[in-house]
């Protein structure tokens, strides 16, 4: 996993570095952010010193009412040798005591012009993405009618060819062959291509083609939430394939269970159309229309009626 350093925050956000320049390469190890309010009162028992510290209006106004020696003491205790940084919000003035303590312990002090809550949520979002669990999957990710469909299957089964056909039909390629997936929150998977092979597709016999230059900017996406997966496999005579679509199979990627359909591959089956329809059908199901279930209900009703008819 990539390391996150205080410098990354400075690069990403509109933050002003005011003191502790020596510490900008400190590593941030957690996405949690601390607002040291209780610590301002002198209680440092549970001070989460490894977190990024955020000083908002409340903390600062309490601090300003302290006696000079208390001020010095609190700031010295806040700036430890592992604290990755202090952020002051609302463009407030940085107290002299903090500047001295921060320079001494090399804790970067940054200032943001925005409101505290806004800063917290933006920093948290940024850090959560950076610390999200991560994996790479062998497969192709395509955005079909707005649904991120992950196509998996053995090497040579025709994933890339299917992706090409889907792109030709107006859908968007996210990644070919290797999909980097990160888990956001506890139930969301976001996939993207490794930077080196972004927009590229490998077709046996043709080699590597660039989908963006061939089909235009509308044919690619940089990343996409994955909602559905399709597993392609060579037709196995002995295996039972789903004939009704009543059951929903799933596959697990990290902590997330992804709905999955297994589609047998045989010459003459147009996979792109099947996958396109699978994506639409998945969408329809999520909107509450389930063809298989409705049909099954109709069949059950019909059988019940006939039974009653006979009994009368």
């Amino acid at each position: 996993m990539a390391k996150v350093r205080t410098q990354d925050l400075l690069d990403r956000f509109n933050l002003e570095l005011l003191a502790g320049e020596d510490g900008v390469h400190r590593e941030i190890n957690t996405s949690d952010i601390s607002r040291p309010g209780i610590e301002m009162t002198g209680y440092f028992e549970y001070y989460p010193k490894e977190r990024l510290q955020l000083l908002g209006k409340t903390e600062m106004s309490f601090f300003n009412d302290l006696k000079p020696e208390e001020k010095r003491d609190r700031m010295e205790k806040l700036c430890t040798d592992i604290t990755p940084g202090m952020v002051i919000t609302r463009g407030m003035d940085v107290p002299e005591e903090l500047m001295i303590a921060a320079n001494e312990a090399a804790v970067p002090v940054m200032r943001s012009p925005h409101k505290t809550t806004r800063v917290i949520s933006r920093l948290t979002n940024f850090l959560e993405v950076k610390f999200a669990p991560f994996t790479a999957v062998h497969g192709v990710l395509v955005d079909i009618y707005g649904i991120g469909v992950l196509i998996t299957g053995q090497s040579g089964v025709g994933k890339s060819e299917t992706a090409l056909e889907l792109v030709k039909r107006g859908h968007r390629l996210v990644a070919d062959d290797s999909v980097e997936i990160r888990q956001e929150d506890y139930d969301i998977l976001i996939g993207n291509a490794p930077p080196l092979i972004e927009h590229l597709l490998e077709i046996r016999g043709l080699g590597i083609i660039n989908v963006m230059t061939l089909f235009g900017a509308g044919a690619v996406r940089s990343h996409k939430k994955i909602s559905f997966s399709i597993h392609l496999e060579t037709w196995d005579q002995k295996k039972q394939y789903d004939r009704l679509g009543l059951e929903e199979d799933t596959m697990k990627i990290m902590d997330v269970k992804l709905p999955r359909a297994t589609i047998p591959v045989r010459p003459g089956r147009n996979l792109a159309v099947i996958i396109e329809v699978a994506a639409m059908n998945f969408r329809l199901k999520r909107m509450g229309v389930n063809a298989a279930e409705e049909f099954s209900q109709r069949l059950t009703n019909m059988i019940e009626q006939e039974k009653e008819g006979k009994n009368e």
Partner: protein, 84 residues
């Protein structure tokens, strides 16, 4: 399943052409073959996956083989990358 760490000795690293040869070799086996570098695992039978790792000369990779001909596959892949 067999796996082994190996240092890549190919002087050019796994550039496009050697990567293609590597994948051709991998595809001649029925076992599932994987390569891991810096915690990223890819299918050794996929050229795009392999190239996305951008393996340079002198880097250490983990080669994993799983299947009927795993021993043979692992041996051949290891010898391919350890030749300079």
């Amino acid at each position: 399943m067999v796996e082994k760490y190996v240092t890549v000795e190919l002087t050019t690293g796994l550039q496009a052409r050697p990567a293609a040869q590597f994948v051709q070799k991998a595809n001649s086996y029925t076992s599932d073959l994987f390569i891991e570098k810096d915690g990223k695992r890819i299918n050794a039978k996929s050229i795009m996956g392999l190239m996305s790792l951008a393996i340079a000369s002198g880097e250490e990779i983990l080669v994993i083989a799983d299947g009927n001909d795993e021993e043979k596959a692992l041996k051949e892949l290891l010898s391919f990358v350890s030749e300079s």
